[in-house]
Subunit: 161 residues, 2 copies
């Protein structure tokens, strides 16, 4: 099937300058402050966004070093299928994170609960809506035994270019 | 900034053959059955996915007719910034939906709670993990007064090519 081409609409500014030590999810980056710079040509699309307490950031894992269909996730010692983990070694290295929106000044969004590397290219912003995005889950597979490691798990650079 | 190129990893098969009448979110497509066909070259990445009751599908809004930085969402009569709505007229037409995973046979995923059009190109699959994806929300902006319309709202073709 044909290629799909996207262009970054902005850039994520974060205190994390390299993968090593970066929290692996917003839950591990609680209260970490950062900003999202939306390029001025897209700023008009930010109207009404400040009404939402949480937003979904869709971004490109620009430091991912390539595709592995199986990989060891940060919270486990076994290889798992890439579609059963959230790490960056994906066929299309797209990341999603739900962050807290603190405020917007023109084209700059102030956010909290950050788990992205500084300089990450932003692809999209969506409002987080509980009626769409909260599901009652019956099972979480291999994570069942590992989720307790989340608060202390950090990136160790394993997926880095 | 440079272009980012992705390739579909599969295709979504759904009973909805055109935008008009399609539910606008999985919550509106409750119990609707469909399948996700993952192209055989990526099937290895599906290992361990069957352990999860819900998955996040990331897909390309292939029928979106172009970018509007402001658009009227299905559930409101006012124009909203595109980053404050979930419709397809986005600078990068990426969609996300959380669906229920019923089972996997080789490279075919059986899913429920579908809101995608038949033939939608799939970009990524991620496990849905409450600890990552469920946030306690303080406000939902313009949707506060409109969310009650969700169960009965359908696509009316407004964003179609």
């Amino acid at each position: 099937m044909h290629e799909i081409k996207y262009k970054p609409i902005g850039i994520i500014h974060s205190p994390f300058k390299e993968p090593k030590g970066t929290p692996i999810q917003p839950a591990g980056g609680k209260d970490i402050d950062g900003t999202v710079e939306v390029f001025p040509e897209y700023a008009e699309g930010l109207k009404d966004v400040e009404g939402f307490s949480h937003i979904i950031l869709i971004f490109h894992f620009h430091l991912s070093r390539g595709v592995s269909l199986k990989a060891k996730p940060y919270m486990d010692n076994e290889e798992r299928g890439v579609f059963a983990i959230r790490g960056p070694s994906r066929p299309n290295p797209i990341g999603i994170s739900i962050v807290r929106l603190v405020g917007i000044e023109e084209n700059i969004l102030h956010i909290k609960d950050l788990d992205m590397i500084d300089g990450t290219p932003l692809l999209d912003i969506k409002p987080y809506i509980p009626e769409f995005d909260i599901q009652e889950v019956a099972k979480i597979g291999w994570l069942e035994k590992n989720i307790h490691k989340l608060p202390t798990s950090k990136d160790d650079g394993r997926f880095m270019k």
